[in-house]
């Protein structure tokens, strides 16, 4: 590894301090200390004095794009992003939730981020498998090259090969375990709806207690709401306290969208989200 996590942390601090001191931004979204080294937390530096609280290590999985929509429109912000996280920023710009000119994107090319629960290096099996940001203003480290690149959709083959009944049984078993804590939507940079459809009473789309029908309604509809928007950072699944592999479903929908509409989420700020767009040459084949 060309650049150490320590070097990234130092560079992040330097840039954060410079941006805050110059008044270019009023806050910097980064990672900070958690209760132990394995559990860093999202961290907001609002002044130069906060900068020392910034950390970066191999367990900084959080997608900080999640927090961009928390601040009033027009707030000048810097945000530290890894590869997938940068796609979330791009997607939010597409959706006009943040303006490009209000952002300073601190891009972090990095390989070796680990899932704190399993200790495994995060790659294309559970995320989009990119290691370099797709959009940034300041690059915090040299781009990563030569690391194993796995197709983000290879992991799906096993599930696509199942027959309908087996796949239903699989998902029923998984989604039955959902305790409806909504950590998935809290972690998701694209889940900015307030209120979420599932919290509503008129109409009541599904039961709020953790039972199969309501769980299905919540998750299936959420998969649809995120179709063509999910950037495959995998945070929903890492946030899930009962380890439901939500990323699998999101990957499947992302794959289908890419095949049907020829566009992956969060790759270019010029794109329009695929489900609020159409092309005359769309084919009826997609309905088969």
């Amino acid at each position: 590894m060309a650049v150490s996590f320590q070097q990234i942390e130092e560079k992040l601090k330097t840039e954060a301090r410079r941006l805050l001191e110059s008044g270019q931004v009023s806050l910097v979204l980064a990672w900070g200390r958690g209760f132990d080294e394995k559990h860093p937390m999202p961290y907001v530096a609002k002044g130069a004095s906060d900068v020392d609280g910034i950390v970066f290590n191999e367990f900084c999985t959080h997608n900080l794009a999640r927090y961009l929509v928390r601040y009033p429109r027009g707030t000048k912000m810097a945000v530290a992003v890894k590869a997938a996280d940068s796609r979330a920023v791009v997607q939010l710009i597409q959706e006009d939730k943040v303006k490009r000119h209000d952002l300073v994107i601190l891009g972090i090319p990095v390989y070796g981020i680990k899932n704190p629960k399993t200790g495994e290096i995060i790659d294309g099996k559970t995320t989009c498998g990119l290691y370099n940001p797709v959009l940034y203003d300041i690059l915090i480290a040299e781009e990563v090259h030569g690391q194993p690149v796995s197709s983000p959709y290879a992991v799906l083959a096993e599930y696509e090969a199942m027959d309908q009944d087996a796949r239903f049984a699989f998902w029923k078993k998984e989604l039955d375990r959902c305790i409806r804590c909504y950590a998935c939507r809290k972690a998701c940079p694209m889940c900015y709806c307030d209120p979420c459809f599932i919290d509503q009473n008129k109409p009541k789309w599904g039961e709020k207690s953790p039972e199969t029908p309501g769980n299905l309604m919540y998750h299936l509809t959420r998969f649809h709401h995120l179709a063509g928007r999910c950037i495959d950072c995998g945070e929903c699944s890492r946030a899930c306290p009962v380890d439901i592999p939500l990323y699998l479903f999101h990957k499947k929908v992302a794959k289908e969208c890419e095949e049907m509409f020829g566009q992956a989420a969060g790759m270019s700020i010029e794109d329009k989200p695929v489900l609020v767009n159409f092309r005359m040459e769309d084919s009826d084949k997609i309905l088969e």
């Binding site: 599930y159 309908q164 998902w171 029923k172 789309w205 029908p213």
Partner: protein, 137 residues
Amino acid sequence: MSFEPKILGIACNWCTYTGADLAGTTRLQYPQNLRVVRVMCSSRINPSFIFRAFQLGADGVLVGGCHPGDCHYNTGNLYARRRLAVTKKILEFAGLEPGRFRVEWISASEGNKFAEVVTEFTGQIKALGPQTKFKIS
């Protein structure tokens, strides 16, 4: 007694619903398992309507809209096509049999096509048997 499926239809006012009326006016016969909800445009169909229909016990869901390019609202069905395609992929990956959800473009002049599609789809759902996966018991 043989299995008589419940099929939910959602039809746009301008094309498919009018086409269904035409099937009636011309006295075409088709199975009575379909119950149609009228909406103004196929683009009105919220994906959750489809999920909900299967939870309510629909054995099949048939969506009907204007042919692409002929939408009364110009482009509504072009959005609907994409959104319903994704709905279908989601249902299938969750384990629904692919044959249970279908989208058809049926114009106001295609009473024949309406009757044919309903007949054919009803037969297909009968062959698939009751939908139990998503139905809330």
